[in-house]
């Protein structure tokens, strides 16, 4: 039976991706508010 070898870096990489997603989520609202309050740049 082949034993499952854990990939130590995989979960860390996944967490880094979710951190990037959090950054993306944090950028959406300010952009929307900026356009809503002041229009185009």
């Amino acid at each position: 039976m082949k034993s499952e070898r854990p990939d130590r870096g995989r979960e860390l990489r996944r967490e880094l991706i979710s951190l990037l997603l959090v950054y993306a989520a944090l950028s959406v609202l300010p952009l929307l508010s900026g356009f809503a309050c002041q229009g185009g740049v």
Binding site: L12, E15, L19, V22, Y23, L26, L29, Q38
Partner: protein, 500 residues
């Protein structure tokens, strides 16, 4: 193992601890903890930036206020992180016993601190950085904003780390940890105060800031904001702002490095030499085991790392509220009630401090006490009540000083006596929430005790009582103070009822 692989291994291990924290330490798989806090603090930063985003806002003030907020929050997170790193004995032993060269270790640690700062700071800086597109009219404004905010947060962190490292070199790790906890308490209160004052300044203009525009211009966030403005095509930064922004970060960095290079003069075996400190002399009759635990509790409150890190910073918030109230100017007729509440605040906060008492990093040593006492929790209850009753005296003495400054000695003495009497009378009841041996649980498994809501309600009742007593006429108030002090001492001195 090559140096690069050593550094990579250390970085991966530390980042895994940062991201997965508690769940990994317990050997479980779980979702990240750092990502969640980046998201919540980033949302807070967005709310703060949006509140200061009216069309007529001065771009420099907007940048200065948000930079101060981002820098302050990042610094608070970093100071906690720097204290936690290598604080766990198991981690320290594992890292220091592994075949890693000194240079790799310091390089990895430096890289990790920088990475953590950038990860946290970027999350906080994104919302104001994007809003600054509209305040400056430049699409690329977020890039210099985020860059400057990272430099600003790093400078702030280094500046506050200097006294901690200096204390560690001269007086040892214990003293440094106490100083760091005190600094964090002051900073938590300071950041809270700064948020309120900064918000008011950004909305109503610099005239409402204590000291006016001249004071704002002397604060580091303003220099960074000026540089940011001139980078984005605004008016050129003043020579002072430009030079200070360029000179201070390297200066602070070099100072920290120099302090860190000082030889370590502390010795773990050195004893304080004070066999009988002032707090050991109290009139409460205690049995020998109770007295032993009383001494242990007072010493542990000062020395226990998990207590210092978690419980003491909580005290920053009430301190900030008191400072703000006194600085804001309170009407003459309301001052006695405000001071009555200030005197009762330490007692109202006690249940939260008591919630941290069952935890200690050396929790496995609690068998020593459990094996020797018939009712360890009961003995502890009396020891803890006496410890806090004694420690409340210097706390009330400080408040007495503030009170004398505000009202004069006689009123201050009466209110202080009332607060002490109430505290001593209530303490034996408050400590009933202690059901386990103190310092016997792992701080990693901290859980909020179930009855804390009710005890917080008790804090409200006590506050109302203090105000009611303050409203009594002079003679009745003096009589109440004497009666409460006598009743308090009698309650404390009564032998504890043993649990069946």
């Amino acid at each position: 193992m090559s140096r690069l692989r050593q550094i990579r291994a250390l970085l991966t291990a530390w980042l895994t601890i940062d991201f997965f924290g508690k769940s990994r330490r317990l050997g479980k798989r779980g979702s990240g903890t750092l990502t969640t806090s980046v998201f919540t603090q980033g949302s807070l930063s967005y709310g703060f930036a949006l509140l200061n985003f009216p069309p007529e806002q001065s771009p420099t003030l907007f940048a200065a206020g948000t930079l101060a907020m981002v820098g302050g929050f990042t610094m608070l997170a970093m100071l906690g992180e720097l204290q936690d790193q290598l604080g766990h004995a198991a981690d320290r032993d594992l890292v220091l016993a592994s075949p890693i060269t000194k240079a790799s270790f310091f390089l990895a640690r430096g890289l990790h601190v920088c990475l953590f700062l950038v990860i946290f700071n970027v999350g906080l800086a994104i919302p104001p950085a994007l809003l600054s597109i509209w305040t400056t009219g430049r699409v690329w404004a977020p890039v210099p904003y985020i860059g400057l905010s990272i430099v600003f947060a790093a400078t702030l962190t280094c500046a506050f780390q200097i006294p901690v490292v200096l204390a560690q070199r001269l007086r040892g790790q214990d003293f440094a940890a106490s100083l760091a906890a005190l600094l964090r308490a002051l900073l938590t209160g300071g950041v809270f105060l700064g948020l309120l004052i900064g918000l008011r300044t950004m909305i109503s203009g610099p005239n409402v800031f204590p000291g006016g525009m001249a004071a704002v211009e002397w604060l580091p966030p303003y220099w960074f904001a000026e540089v940011f403005e001139s980078v984005c095509g605004g008016p050129a930064a003043s020579a002072r702002g430009l030079w200070l922004t360029l000179a201070i970060p390297p200066l602070v960095g070099i100072s920290l490095l120099l302090v860190a290079l000082l030889p370590d003069r502390s010795h773990s075996s050195r004893r304080s030499g004070k066999a009988h400190a002032w707090w050991m002399h109290h009139p409460v009759p205690l049995t020998r085991p109770e007295h032993g635990l009383f001494v242990l509790v007072v010493r542990m409150l000062a020395r226990e790392r998990s207590f210092r890190l978690r419980a003491l910073p909580l005290l920053g918030l009430p301190a900030a509220i008191v400072a703000m109230g006194l600085a804001g100017g309170i009407a003459e007729d309301q001052l006695p009630y405000f001071l009555a509440v200030v005197h009762i605040l330490p007692l109202a906060y006690l249940p939260f401090l008591l919630a941290f008492l069952p935890y200690a990093e050396g929790f496995q040593a609690s068998w020593l006490i459990e094996a020797n006492l018939g009712d360890p929790a009961g003995t502890y209850r009396r020891a803890v009540a006496t410890a806090f009753a004694v420690l409340m005296v210097p706390v009330q003495a400080i408040l007495f000083g503030i009170d004398v400054w505000q009202r004069g000695p006689i009123d201050a003495a009466i209110t202080t006596a009332i607060a002490l009497g109430v505290t001593w009378a209530v303490l034996p009841h408050l400590v009933r929430q202690i059901h386990t041996t103190c310092f016997s649980l792992d701080p990693e498994e901290f859980a909020i005790p179930p009855g804390l809501g009710g005890l917080a309600g008790l804090g409200m009742v006590l506050t109302v009582t203090a105000i009611a007593i303050e409203a009594l006429p002079g003679l009745a108030r003096t009589a109440a103070a004497i009666a409460l002090v006598v009743f308090g001492i009698a309650t404390l001195s009564r032998p504890a009822r043993r649990l069946a």
